[in-house]
């Protein structure tokens, strides 16, 4: 069953992505206010969902598990590393597609708005995390520092989420998770939006799994290199 789920993940991610594209691009009707531009709703919010909540949530939980002595393992560290790398891709995409949407609706590609600025700050922090991982060769020290950095960075996520409520921003408020729980999207548009969230989440799962496997192989290679070096050193000292 586990093997089947693992093998089905890639095809499922691809199939749901194609279905989202067909539904969002060809089948759903244009919006009353935004017209054809509303088709961007089937990619941009789902990208933000993956970047901020899914990837970063995974990275934060994995980092906390690493820092907690009872659950400390290199598996948690590798999961955090993989999730942050995928998160960086999706934060970049969120900013790009948001900018593409902002130009025709707001008249500008970029504005130093609370939601946009806080998301960009998170993107820079993610690049900092990836740079920090390359700054130390000791696996334990690297894992510990990265985990602390990831948890400190997580403070930015609720700021991004609530930025549209706390400050006056150009960015629109919630469409689905509104304060009064009144859904602002209906019919085929709502179903396609839900499908896009499923598709991007499946893509996230496939990417993190693939990235984790690479990290695992790299660690095994490093260990075997170290073993070989130690063996060679022992042989030298005996002879």
């Amino acid at each position: 069953m586990k093997q089947l789920t693992r093998r089905a993940l890639g095809p499922l991610a691809l199939a749901s992505s194609v279905a989202t594209f067909v539904m969002g691009y060809f089948i759903t009707p244009p919006d009353v206010v935004q017209g054809e531009l509303a088709r961007l709703v089937y990619i941009h919010p789902a990208q933000a969902w993956v970047a901020l909540y899914l990837s970063f949530g995974t990275a934060t939980i994995a980092s906390a598990l690493y820092l907690w002595p009872r659950t400390r393992s290199m598996v948690a560290d590798r999961v955090a590393e993989s999730a942050v790398e995928v998160s960086t891709l999706f934060i970049g995409l969120t900013l790009l597609t948001g900018s593409i949407w902002g130009r025709p609706t707001w008249g500008v590609w970029w504005v130093w708005d609370a939601r946009l600025t806080s998301t960009a700050v998170l993107g820079v922090l993610m690049l900092g995390y990836l740079a920090l991982r390359r700054a130390n060769d000791d696996a334990q020290v690297r894992a510990k520092r990265s985990a602390v950095f990831a948890i400190l960075t997580a403070v930015n996520v609720p700021i991004i989420h609530f930025s549209v409520m706390w400050w006056k921003t150009l960015h629109q408020g919630a469409t689905v998770f509104t304060q009064n729980r009144d859904l602002k999207i209906h019919g085929s548009m709502a179903w396609t939006l839900l499908l896009s969230f499923i598709a991007f989440s499946l893509n996230f799962a496939w990417m993190v799994r693939a990235r984790y496997r690479i990290a695992d192989h790299e660690a095994a290679e490093r260990d075997s290199e170290l073993d070989n070096a130690l063996k060679a050193r022992r042989t030298e000292s005996v002879s």
């Binding site: 992505s17 594209f21 691009y25 054809e36 531009l37 088709r39 961007l40 990619i43 941009h44 990208q47 891709l89 970049g92 995409l93 790009l96 597609t97 593409i100 949407w101 130009r103 025709p104 893509n203 496939w206 990417m207 693939a210 990235r211 496997r213 690479i214 192989h217 790299e218 290679e221």
Partner: protein, 31 residues
């Protein structure tokens, strides 16, 4: 519609390129 095309295209290229790079890196490791 040009903006919509650009949004979808950027997404497809970035996600596709990253997926291919992951697949390629994993194949090299398996060799």
């Amino acid at each position: 519609m040009n903006y919509v095309n650009a949004g979808y295209l950027v997404t497809a290229i970035a996600m596709g390129a990253y997926a291919v790079s992951l697949w390629w890196r994993s194949q090299r490791r398996d060799d």
